[in-house]
Symmetry: C2
Subunit: 140 residues, 2 copies
């Protein structure tokens, strides 16, 4: 995702308005690698701007996704997560704390059983334990 300044220009160019709510979300999302949910973003936004609506958070996230500034991913946590990192990567989910980490794979694996199917995209979700959670279990 581009910087708040660049997004401001991009939004105006697209005929969209740049509101204080959107500027705040631009800032909260920029360089955010936590893969937040709409709800967690709303919580974070509320501490800075009390009264901001969850509906507006969803709306802005949808706009950003449509502009290709972020992607939404589904890792089985019940709710959608938003990712300003739009590079080609995958995700590792900790079964202990639920945190989502970025993962990069060297090359796409070879497939079997896919006659007559043209693949346009692949997404891998790894599950396991992060370092912190492994340490916790070890000391118990």
């Amino acid at each position: 995702m581009r910087s708040p300044e660049e997004l401001t220009i991009a939004f105006r160019r697209a005929g969209l308005k740049v509101t204080p709510q959107r500027q705040l979300l631009f800032r909260l999302l920029h360089d955010n690698s936590s893969h937040p949910t709409a709800d967690s973003l709303h919580s974070a936004a509320t501490t800075v701007m009390p009264g901001i609506s969850l509906r507006t958070v969803y709306q802005t996230l949808t706009d950003l996704a449509e502009m290709g500034e972020l992607q939404s991913i589904e890792v089985g946590s019940g709710s959608l997560r938003f990712d300003p990192n739009v590079s080609d990567h995958h995700h590792a989910v900790c079964d202990g704390c639920g945190d989502v980490h970025d993962v990069y794979v060297s090359k796409a694996p070879v497939l079997r059983g896919l006659d007559d199917f043209s693949v346009s995209d692949a997404h891998i979700v790894y599950r396991g334990q992060c370092g912190a959670c492994s340490a916790l279990v070890a000391t118990k």
Copy 2:
């Protein structure tokens, strides 16, 4: 997933009862490679046994999953899909018709960016077009 006959024995052994509803679901799931949702299973069940409750379908699916007889997968279609194929495999989802196909991967890809994370499982979701949908587009 094992056969309806074997499941009958397994359920009894586990202190669970084998009801007509459950037997029907055993049959509908056995060798079913369509990755059905709870709702689609309920529809199929209803044609044979009118009045069977969606709640009962969910309950039985949960029981079977807890016994390891089936797995539930999430491929971004909004609802959970159930898979009596519990072998180690992955899935290809057609963006045209939504159908889910089994995929087998030769070997796990090499990772980067995962220091300090112990992976216990990996699931790959491929997206693209199935043969039928590709053909449709071509003839249009």
